[in-house]
Each structure stands twice: as C-alpha cells, then as structure tokens.
Amino acid sequence: MTVTGRLIDEPEAHNGIHIGTLAVGVVDGPNGITHRSNGLLRIALPMDASKQPPHIGDMVRLRGQIRRFRSPTNPGESGASALWERRGLFARLNASGTTAWSVIAIPRAPHYRLAAAALGLRSRTNAIFSAHMTSDQAGLINGLLLGGRSDLTGRRANELTRAGLAHIIAASGANIASIIGLVLLLLRWLRLGDRLTASVCILAASGYAVAAGSQPAVVRAAIMASIFVAAPLFNRCRDGASALCVAAIVALAIDPANIADPGFQLSFTIVAGMMAFWPSWSALLAHVLRKDIAASRSRRSIDIPIRMVLNGVALSVIAGMTAAPITLQIFNSAPVYGVWANLLVAPAVTAIVPIALLVLAFSHMAPALSGLLCHLILAPVAAFILNTATIFGGEPSSTLSTPSPSWPVVLISYGVLGGLAFAARRATWPIGR
C-alpha cells in the first residue's frame, strides 16, 4: 500500500529510523484504486544517507503495510496503542525499505513553516550557547529557555527527573513572566501607551509559546499572561481562577486530546494548587513576619531572606503536593529530595531566563558581551544546577517507587486537597483581611 501525506510533527531519529506522524491525504490501494483519506498514521522511515531527513510539514510518499499498534506485552506497560489511540492514532506504517519513501517537493503550509522556524530557532539558540559552554550546560540553558530535554543527554535528563527538577526544563509560567517582565521594562522606558504595551506583551507571550513548541503548559501560561495583561484595558480585575478556566477552554479547543497529556494535567493542577493555597500561606507569613519585626527591629534585615526561603519551601511543597497524585499515577515514583533540590536551584532558575534572553539579544550586536555573560553567569549557574541534580538525583535511592494509584484514588486525593485548601482559607481569612 502506498500512502501520501504531510508530516504533522518533527520526526525523531531512533535506531536508524525516522519516526513521525503523517496526516494521510491519498492512499493508493493494492487494487490500483486511489482513495482520498484524512486519517493519521504513525510512520517509520529507514534512514538513508543519500536523502535529506524529513521535517515537519514535508509531503511524504511511502510504501509499506499498515498495521495496528502492538498490545502491551509486559505487566503495567502503558503500551503504544493506548498512548496513540488517545491522540487519534490507530495504526502504524513502516516503509518497507530506504527506497520505499520519498519527500515530495511541495511548499509547506504557513503553520508548518512557523513550526519549522521554531525548531530552527531552537537549534540556533543551542548553537549560540554551545559556543561558550559544554553541551550539557548549553542543553540545560536551552531547555530552561525553550523547554524540552532534547538537547540534554539521557543521563542528565534522568538525573533532573529523579531530583524532582524536571519541571525547570518545561517552558511555562515562569518563562512567560520573565519575558513579559523584560518587555514591560523596555516599553515603560520607551513610554509607550497602555494599549500598545499590552498588545506587544501579548504578541511576545504568543511568540514565545510558538517558539517553545506550543506545549500545553506554555500555551496555558501564554493565555493566562495575555488575559492578565489585557484585563485592565477592559476594566476587568485580574482573576487567576477565571484566567485559568479560559486557558483550559482555549487549550482544549485547540486540541481536545490535550486532556490526556500529562503536561497539560500537571500544569493546570499545579497552578490551581498555587491559587488555592498561596493566599492562606502568604497571609499567615506576612502576619507573622510583621509581628516579629514589630517586636524586634534588628530582625528587619533578615526579613527578606527568611521570606524568600519560606516562600521557596512553601512553593515546592504546594507544587509537589498538588502534582503528586498525577505523577504517582503516571510515573510510579516520587523524588525523595525534591523539595530541597528545588529550594537550591529556584533562585538560579529565576535569574537565568532573563540573562539567557540577553545573551541571545547580544549574540549578533555584541558577541563579546554575550560570550562574557555566558562564561561569567550562565555556565557556572548551569553547572550548579546540573551538579545539584547529580547530587539529589544521581543515587538509586533518590526516587521512591510507588504502586500506581487508580484514577478514583487520584480524584479522591484532589478532593482531600481541595478540602485542605478550603480549611486553610477559612482559618486564615481574618488574617488575610
């Protein structure tokens, strides 16, 4: 059977094979009849040194046999079939040899050109960082900036996961906040009007979401940031819960299959957890610190570091607590030292994104300055984060294996967490006022 269609994702190279997803356009059946089709197929194309590798948006023609995904063959294995069926993919087609596939020279649609440009940007940024630091450090900085672990070695990525630091290489709210912060700073300095400033911020957030691969977490963050920036222009208050709901609706409207994506689930539950627990926490903390300061003026100088450390711990605990039911369900393991590892790297991560953006901005205008920033700040900070991950995630005992809780247990856990948040809000309400 010969199938012609467009690649809708960037193929991954694995074991001498390009693996990607094809939106089928035309099928030439074995009886010589040509059918139009609109299904999706997971395809495998054997690598051929004489051919250019296929890319997202390419029109590919290949010959092979369509087969269903294999069922899981080991206990507890999620299986390719379940994973892909959730995303509307029910079969695979392996090209029967290196000569059984070809890329047809047809221009890509604009949105594929945009995605290809984002991938190109990613490799260019990695090249800029790699010129001044080791490949692992450059991969980490690129991951911090644009999300994803594709630029890191498997061992480094595993250590980050086991230390509970995998979230730092998932582009999300913190990155969007840094970018909007920088843009706001620049536009305030230029004294532009509110409407123009808001529009530029929304454009920057959207552009960043595209550059970071439009993953659910970054799309969520971009939508929420846009709502926050635009709200005052429409005389609306900035309400986190409403923004989160709108972001969920938009992300699911773009791709309903997102609901099964662990990144989507974790992103929304963690943000919801922050919204539920943070007001109670900050009200209590403010009250206690105020009281202490009133009691002793000498304590004022240590107010800020105490606040930072306590907030860091609280942030890690809240994020860990709200993510735990899903992470345990999907990954069967929990990082033992996650809170401490996060506490150590959180300040470094916050500082690194704006500096990495400055390095990119100066890479053409002032390469020497860009190199200096890399050598003096980015490389040592990246080394610090990677070493922290090795210390907290390099040991076999750094993760706790857990049996997978069932989905009803996960839902009950969120019910309990909701109750806990409600109780905390009630207990701290008078203080918050």
């Binding site: 069922s71 063959t73 080991n74 294995e77 209590l284 206690v288 040991e395 076999p396 294996s401 806990l420």
Partner: protein
C-alpha cells in the same frame, strides 16, 4: 501568638499531608503472600523477577541493551517501579552476554541493589569485555557488593524460597566450561513443592555435566536455555527435568531462528506446554507451594490464568 500557632499548624498539616500521601502511595505489605516469577518480554534477551511471599525480590538478568534501546531502562526498571519496589535483594547476571546483562547498568543506576551475583568463572573466561567492565563499574559506583557463586552455593530468599546453584562447577573441579554460555549460572528455585529451573544460556555440555553429577533437576517450570537454541535443551535434559511448563524468552522475528524446531519438538514429546515471550508476552507464574497459576500478557492465559497442581 494564636496566629503563629495557626501558621505552624498550617505548615505542619501541609507537610504531614505530603508525607502521608507518599507513605500511602508507597505502602505495600511485606509481601504478597505468594511466590511470583515474572519473565518479562524484553525481545531477544532475558530478564526475570522473582518475588518471595515475604517480599524479597531478585532480578535474574536485566535484558538486552543494544544501540540506543536499553530494555533495562525501558522495560525492567519501569516494571520494578510499577510493582512498588525500592530495593532488589539481589541482581543476578547469569553471564555477561549483552542480551542478558546489557540492561544492568540502568538497574545499578536506577534502584538500590543488595548484592550483585555473578558466576564464578574459570580463569580463561574471567577476562571481561569493555561493556562488562562498564556494567560492573556501575554497580561498584553504588557500592554494591559482588558475590561469585558456583555449584554447591545457594541463596536463601527469606525463610521459604531458596535458590540452589547447579552450574557452573567451581573452577578446577571436574568439567570446565569452555564458553561464556556454558559458564552461565543455572539456578534451581524451590518454594514448597514448586520448583523452577533457570538456565541462562547454558548449553548441552553444561546440562550433561549437571545430569552426570546426579543432581535432582526435576522442575515444574523450566526456563529454556539460550532462547530455545538447538545447542541447548537436549533430549536427556528434557527427560531429566520433565517440566509441565517450558518458558522461552525470545525476540519476535529474531535473526537467529530461535527457538529451534528441534527444541520445540523435544518439549512436545515430553508433553510440556511451551510459552514464549514473543507470542505470549510477559509470563507470570504464581505459586502457593503446592500448585501454581500461569498468566500471560497475550493469549492464551491473559483473560483466565491456568492453574496447575504439582503432584
């Protein structure tokens, strides 16, 4: 003062909630109460897990790791995590072939191991390849003690399960293996009347040596040696073991032609039911010491396990 107490209570409640959640999620009784053996489907290679009724766990071989596909990381470690294990009592590598030991590096890095068990090899086979050295270094990095076993040694897994080493013989005593395969650890696992014979890649010469020594090799379940190669599982061996169930760990459409037709015919002649990981997926055997059940991931025993009474 009341507010400070509330803050302390709030922080404490959150930390207790997190710890309680982790504890509840990771809680498992000290054992499932039954002996369980799972032969994982790792393609053309071997990886099996033995769980004692008291909760002790042994990994026998760690699956193949070739090119960029490491089944230790992709299949074995996730399986152990899914079963909720944070520690292996022992990791046994029957021999150093990459289809058995390749995944062990991921195991050393991914889970705590009580001890690494290796065959005590004669001098001429004791030189390790670069990959084998890398794997052993991975265990050394984690300060895992290494124990070398040969015939006459044994491992007690709690009070009820024992593993007796049938081969290789101690160096310098009787027959000397001439190949890595023949120097594989051959283990007889006993739990009550249930017996399980694990053969690594031992070939006919090793089988004959075990029979010649007069060792009792009768077993309810036999893991067929060397993935069903015609160089293993001789006629004499089949008749000596008399397994009710024969398990073959083999890759789908492998280029070696495993399992061989001759081996399958030998097993058929003695009335053994053959289960293969390429066709039946992972195979799990549970025993209470007097009977055992067989469950496969794919048909025939995926929906309803087969129950076999040991006479």
């Amino acid at each position: 003062m009341r507010t400070a107490a509330k803050l302390a209570g709030f922080i404490l409640a959150m930390i207790v909630a997190v710890l309680l959640g982790f504890w509840l999620a990771s809680y498992r009784p000290a054992g499932s109460g039954a002996f369980r053996f799972t032969m994982l489907n790792v393609g053309q290679g071997d990886a099996s897990v033995i769980e004692s009724p008291e909760g002790h766990v042994i990994l026998i071989d760690a699956g193949p790791a070739m090119r960029d596909d490491d089944t230790g990381r992709r299949i074995v470690l996730p399986y152990l995590r899914r079963r909720g294990f944070n520690r292996l009592d022992y990791a046994v590598l029957t021999h150093w072939d990459l289809d058995h030991a390749g995944g062990a590096e991921a195991i050393a890095d991914g889970i705590r191991v009580g001890a690494l068990i290796l065959p005590r090899l004669p001098y001429r086979l004791s030189h390790l390849t670069t990959t084998a050295q890398r794997i052993r270094s991975a265990f050394e990095r984690q300060s895992v003690p290494v124990e070398y076993l040969s015939r006459g040694d044994g491992i007690a897994l709690g009070k009820q399960v024992t593993l007796q080493v049938l081969s290789p013989p101690p160096p310098g005593v009787g027959w000397t293996p001439t190949s890595d395969n023949d120097a594989s650890l051959v283990l007889m696992v006993r739990y009550g009347s249930f017996r399980l014979l694990l053969t690594g890649d031992a070939e006919a010469e090793a089988e004959h040596d075990i029979i010649r020594r007069g060792l009792d090799v009768r077993a309810s379940v036999l893991k067929i040696g060397h993935h069903g190669s015609k160089t293993s599982t001789s006629d004499r061996w089949c008749h000596a073991v008399q397994p009710k169930i024969a398990l073959i760990s083999v890759g789908k459409e492998n280029t070696y032609g495993h399992p061989s037709r001759q081996v399958l015919e030998r097993l058929q002649r003695i009335g053994s039911r053959v289960l293969r990981t390429d066709r039946n997926g992972a195979i799990t055997i549970e025993s209470n010491g007097t009977s055992f059940t067989v469950r496969t991931m794919l048909p025939p025993y995926n929906a309803k396990p087969a129950r076999i009474v040991i006479r």
